[in-house]
């Protein structure tokens, strides 16, 4: 693992458009290990909405057959209409032989799926080196979109949920340290499983990915580092929540 503690916030921002959950998980696993700040969208339209709100990312990785806009159309829109000059990699099931011109016109290269750690990292790092101008890191530790949706815009319930997130996840993170000392790795997996939805509800991809790793394929030796990363991410979220909602009992 490449010093994930230092790189989680300093790494490039990559926007992945991928509709298959397994491939999302594969990519997220690689992103956590490489310290890439990952944003996942389910479609090209979602990606365009994200760029409209956030403006900057270092790389767009989008599936060729995304719908309703495919990868090329989305790349074209983002570059031509939004005027963003970020590199684009198109993900494909098989390396295209007849679409070379389209790749040249709209994207900087292709990545073959399934995402395999070694080749994916290599290709992405090559592209990032070619486009060294780093997008500024956006302050998007959390989003209230999902909570506002689920609570039908009832702001009081949204705010109560934020307090609940702060207290309940904090308790579980403290418990993770206890279980780590006791080397109860099964219990660590259970706790990660239980708090994963809390990070998902705040649309925090880093927290979600770390919880997923802890709950699934992380080896015991990786757990201390991942738990530390998770605690840093939680601290980042609560710091921002405290700033945005000083009236709430966040971290108190």
């Amino acid at each position: 693992m490449n010093n994930p503690n230092a790189s989680l916030k300093a790494g490039p921002t990559i926007l992945l458009v991928e509709s298959h959950i397994i491939e999302q998980e594969n990519f997220a696993h690689i992103a956590v290990q490489e310290g890439w700040h990952l944003v996942i969208c389910n479609s090209g339209i979602d990606a365009i909405h994200w760029f409209n709100k956030n403006n900057k990312a270092d790389l767009l990785v989008i599936e060729e057959d995304s719908a309703p806009l495919n990868g090329y159309q989305t790349a074209d829109y983002i570059k031509a209409e939004l005027g963003l000059m970020l590199p684009v990699l198109i993900t494909v099931g098989t390396v295209p032989t007849q679409q070379e011109l389209r790749v040249i016109a709209y994207a900087e290269g292709v990545i073959k799926k399934p995402f395999i750690k070694s080749t994916t990292i290599l290709q992405i790092n090559e592209i990032l080196e070619k486009f060294p101008e780093r997008a500024s890191i956006q302050d998007y530790s959390y989003s209230l979109n999902y909570l506002r949706d689920i609570f039908d815009g009832h702001e009081e319930s949204v705010l109560e949920s934020l307090e609940l997130f702060s207290t309940s996840v904090n308790t579980e993170l403290e418990q993770l340290n206890v279980e780590l000392q006791d080397m109860d790795y099964n219990r660590i997996r259970e706790i990660a499983h239980s708090i994963k939805p809390s990070f998902e509800m705040l649309e925090n991809e880093t927290g979600r990915s770390i919880c997923h790793l802890l709950n699934s394929e992380a080896e015991e030796i990786e757990m201390p580092g991942l738990i530390n990363d998770l605690q840093l991410e939680f601290a980042s979220i609560t710091k921002q929540l405290t700033r945005d909602f000083p009236e709430l009992k966040i971290g108190r």
Partner: protein
């Protein structure tokens, strides 16, 4: 957070909701009353979701069960269906999807 949001959504949809904070409390509720629908996680403290499902299937087999889980692993989902659960929703759930699925099962009963 998930429980709070579930309770909010289901109550808003006009359902009466009883929350069990763990499997042991759920078992107690099940012994004391009948329910039209059970929503449960598989990973519960004290009494696991699987034990809870087995109990419901034995004592109240007509009660529909929806499993809420963060898991997208096919084998876990298949295990749940093999135990006789009626539906599976991954967390965090889509509000409209939850409403529709709950409504579907309650209309059947």
């Amino acid at each position: 957070m998930v429980i709070k949001s579930l309770e909010f959504k289901l109550t808003k949809d006009g359902h009466e909701v009883l929350i069990a904070k763990d499997g042991r409390v759920a078992m107690k509720f099940l012994k004391e009353a009948n329910f039209d629908l059970i929503l449960t996680d598989l990973m519960l403290p004290f009494v696991t979701g699987k034990e809870l499902i087995s109990y419901i299937k034995k004592n109240s087999p007509q009660t529909p069960i929806i499993v809420l889980s963060t898991s997208t692993q096919e084998n876990i989902i298949m295990d749940a269906f093999n135990m006789g659960v009626d539906d599976f929703i991954t967390k965090p759930f889509s509000p409209n999807e939850l409403s529709l699925r709950v409504k579907r099962f309650l209309n059947k009963t």
